[in-house]
């Protein structure tokens, strides 16, 4: 007994074991079915890569270089047919309800062939995460069921996330910075809804999406206190698409400017407003940060998985080259220095993978969908046919009480510790795995010489694609600072972040 107390107090010392080894806590709690789900999901991604991505990736990249205004509708429709756009939508909203733990390995797999196509799929879950994070069950139900219908009808219904503004990129990712930011996307209260004015930029999948999860602010002088989340559908008066960016890489995934001019959005499409946030435990500012954290805790490990994917793709490309190329009459793969280099690249890919796998454990315990990971819930959800849920869930989700209960349960139920652990690890995976990813791409190009810089050699495309990973979902600098804020500062009373 005494012994036990002693070790627990030892383990509670900084660095606390629960902070640095979440996998230890989660491993025993994880339903065993998750592993087989991951295997099946990765197998599907491999089939998709062979059938669709690998034969098309270079051609698409070339086509976009030639005509940067080309919109890859055919590819979006093909992905829609493969079921990727609804796979991770929970069954209570009509989706396939695959376990969230399988999304990152699938993203790695996709990006090991083409990060642009990987993003065309992955960004759907960035948009959806923002939708989920407001915990407005009625709107979530409505939008998700349209996505599912889009899969059935063959007319893809994608969801984009609109956060970044021309003057606020890093600032829009962190409420402490938001308070000093120059945001311009304004929502003015009017009878029956809001009128929105402003511009969003760099929005992935913008031009190919149907629903747009828009973050705006009711008071531009106090954005951190007045954040508001809307769901805006194509065709809404006052909403239009602007330019499509000409990017260095990930060309298959459009990045769009989105323009709101006196755009009226009715109350029924407000996912969560500052006044609703005020009624929650953390108040408006704290809940705003929680909303951002809910999203990025899921999506930053997703970008980490993209980092692992390009790291692996670059490694596999280099290995192929090493086997095909003779130097001094001997295959390169049999030169000792090349073996060490390939080992280094293998390790980089593996390390990147470990970071997002740890995040899966963290999210399994503390993320916004952790409820779905509890064994009884998990097995019930796997067993129950969607058709059965479809009979009553839309009505349940539409009830205001459902939203209230879930917000109490999930938003107020999450402790600060849980939130910072999920967010801190997500940042770790995001910057560490993407740094490793780009490193492998650099190594592959260097290793292959002339073959590495040719478009038909693949390595140069991996390099161009990979650089974006260090920028979106918060630059790697912002993510380092967020790791400091979440995992280090709590134990350093004198620490001030974003205050320098």
């Amino acid at each position: 007994m005494f012994e036990g107390m002693k070790s627990s107090s030892l383990l509670d010392r900084d660095p606390r074991l629960v902070d640095i080894m979440c996998s230890l806590d989660n491993a025993g709690k994880m339903p065993t079915g998750v592993a087989s789900e991951i295997r099946e999901a990765v197998a599907l991604a491999r089939r998709f890569n062979e059938a669709v991505a690998r034969p098309y990736a270079l051609e698409l990249d070339r086509k976009m270089s030639e005509d940067p205004t080309y919109i890859p509708w055919d590819l979006v429709k093909e992905i829609n047919r493969w079921g990727f756009y609804t796979a991770w939508i929970p069954k209570i909203f009509g989706g396939k309800g695959w376990n969230l733990g399988s999304i990152t390995p699938v993203v790695e797999e996709l990006c090991s062939v083409c990060a642009g196509i990987g993003n065309l799929i992955g960004v759907q879950y960035f948009g959806l995460s923002i939708l989920f994070a407001g915990w407005n069950m009625r709107i979530t139900d409505k939008v998700c069921r349209e996505v599912v219908e889009g899969e059935r009808s063959g007319e893809p219904c994608l969801v984009a996330g609109l956060v970044t503004e021309p003057g606020a990129g890093t600032d829009a990712e962190e409420v402490e910075l938001l308070s000093k930011a120059k945001v311009r996307c304004h929502a003015r209260r009017v009878e029956g809804g809001y009128v929105v004015n402003g511009t969003k930029v760099f929005i992935s999948n913008g031009h190919v999406s149907t629903w747009h999860m828009l973050i705006a602010y009711e008071d531009l002088e106090r954005p951190e206190e007045t954040m508001i989340l809307f769901a805006v559908k194509n065709g809404t008066k006052g909403f239009s698409f602007g330019r499509m960016e000409k990017k260095m890489g990930q060309k298959g995934c459009p990045a769009s400017e989105m323009i709101f001019q006196d755009c009226f959005i009715p109350d029924e499409d407000v996912c969560i407003s500052a006044s609703q946030m005020k009624g929650l435990k953390r108040g408006a500012k704290g809940t705003g940060m929680q909303l951002i954290d809910f999203v990025v805790s899921l999506t930053r490990p997703g970008v980490g998985a993209m980092g692992a994917g390009v790291a692996r793709g670059a490694y596999e490309t280099a290995l192929r080259f090493a086997r095909e190329t003779l130097v001094d009459g001997k295959p390169l793969v049999n030169h000792e220095w090349a073996q060490c280099l390939l080992a280094e690249m293998y390790a980089n890919a593996a390390l990147a993978r470990l970071t997002y796998m740890e995040c899966n454990h963290v999210n399994g315990l503390y993320g916004m969908a952790s409820l779905l990971n509890m064994k009884p819930m998990y097995y019930y959800m796997r067993a129950v046919p969607t058709a059965v849920l479809d009979r009553f869930m839309p009505a349940v989700n539409a009830a205001d009480a459902t939203t209230r209960i879930f917000r109490k349960l999930v938003m107020d139920g999450q402790t600060e510790e849980e939130a910072r652990r999920a967010s801190g690890w997500a940042s770790l995976s995001k910057f560490a795995a993407t740094d490793l990813g780009i490193k492998n791409c650099q190594l592959a190009v260097e290793f292959m010489g002339r073959a590495g810089i040719r478009h038909d050699g693949w390595a140069e495309k991996f390099l161009r694609d990979s650089k974006l990973l260090q920028i979106y979902e918060g630059t790697n600098q912002l993510n380092r600072l967020n790791l400091f804020k979440c995992m280090i500062a709590p134990w350093v009373p004198e620490a001030q972040v974003f205050e320098e």
Binding site: S65, G169, I438, D456, K467, I471
Partner: protein
């Protein structure tokens, strides 16, 4: 790089800077769209006119017979603005150097006679290869009328533009390889479409297929490797200048952007982490600049160990440039990733410039081999 140069070189440097500002900056994005937009023939023609393609060429061959320092100064200035032109100037200088080393002065002279004709003046050359390592050689056979080349040579820079190509080929029944000069207009000479590449789009390369193309031997049959290595000794420092120019351009634009851009209620240049990135870029630029200056001087004066100085400068500057230009994108955030700013191009160009003269790790091994074998004093 300019601390210790003559008045004449200072003027050349100023001329290159003005040229870059006038001809390269404004249309950079459009020029880089090649092969999906026309090639900037006018800029290439003007470059020929002002002498960029004959800086080190001997005077009796119509060149300026300048030292390698001059070439480095020009490449640095051009590559700050747009490394594509730098790639073309470098390739041309390398081909000329091989001809000069092989004692093929008469071929050089013929080439300079083109007087103002761009295609006649340019020599296509596979400047990304060490032919003895990469095996990227044609086959040469000797017939009644002289040599003929057949086979394939990949990634020949300026291959679609130049009227002549300097190509490595294995001579039947002989070790090693020899260099040959061929006319690209011959019917047995087929060039692919420009090879889509990572960077320096306006310095295009093509894959060649040759079938019985008449060729003139350059120097001696067995000595291709020797000429090539000697040219690499002299021109590695010029490859370092290409990388250095790209880095400097990236740093200049990043610094300027950080002074303008605000996040978190202040100019981002006020965040100390931003300064760390800028500092790392600035230090690399300075180091590369000192390397090029020092190595170019060593080459020009024939100081002991100049060969290794030149090669080390290239390996080091070429490995700094990808990191520097990556930070150059990073500091512009999402904007850095877009074609509208020069930074993404510099990132691509820096990596494109790395394998000039051959695969980097193999050049590293070659470097240490020459020390181990006692060929060079380190």
């Amino acid at each position: 790089m300019k601390a210790d140069v003559s008045e004449e070189l200072r003027m050349l440097d100023g001329m290159a800077r003005d040229f870059a500002a006038r001809e390269l900056v404004e249309e950079r994005e459009e020029h880089d769209r090649y092969p999906f937009a026309p090639l900037y023939d006018d800029v290439l023609a003007k470059s020929l006119e002002v002498g960029f393609f004959s800086i080190m060429l001997p005077e009796d061959a119509g060149g300026s017979a300048e030292p390698v320092t001059a070439l480095c100064l020009v490449l640095d200035e051009l590559c700050r603005a747009d490394a594509s032109l730098g790639g073309a100037v470098f390739t041309q200088a390398l081909a000329q150097e091989i001809l000069r080393l092989a004692g093929a002065e008469e071929l050089l002279a013929r080439e300079a006679e083109g007087d103002g004709d761009l295609a006649q003046a340019l020599i296509a050359f596979p400047s990304y290869d060490n032919p003895s390592e990469a095996g990227n050689c044609a086959r040469a056979s000797r017939g009644e009328k002289g040599y003929e080349l057949s086979g394939e040579v990949e990634y020949v820079v300026l291959g679609g533009l130049a009227a002549h190509a300097l190509l490595p080929a294995r001579v039947e029944g002989m070790e090693g390889f020899a260099f040959f000069l061929v006319d690209t207009g011959h019917e047995g000479f087929t060039a692919s479409e420009p090879v889509l590449s990572l960077g320096m789009h306006a310095c295009p390369a093509v894959d060649l297929t040759l079938s019985g193309v008449p060729a003139r031997l350059v120097g001696e049959e067995r000595k291709g490797g020797q000429y090539f290595e000697a040219a690499v000794d002299r021109l590695s420092v010029a490859a370092a200048a290409v990388a250095t120019g790209i880095m400097k351009g990236s740093f200049t634009d990043a610094l300027e952007y950080c002074r303008q851009r605000k996040q978190g209620g202040r100019h981002i240049i006020e965040w100390s982490e931003v300064r760390m990135l800028l500092s790392s870029m600035a230090v690399s630029c300075k180091v590369a600049d000192m390397l090029v200056e020092c190595a170019a001087r060593a080459v020009d004066r024939g100081e002991p160990g100049w060969e290794l100085a030149s090669r080390a400068a290239a390996l080091q500057a070429q490995s700094l440039a990808p990191e520097v230009t990556s930070n150059g994108i990073q500091l512009l955030g999402g904007y850095g990733y877009m074609k509208d700013y020069g930074q993404e191009k510099r990132f691509r160009d820096a990596k494109q410039a790395q394998p000039l003269l051959g695969i980097t790790p193999l050049r590293r091994l070659k470097y240490i081999r020459s020390i181990i074998d006692g060929e060079a004093a380190w």
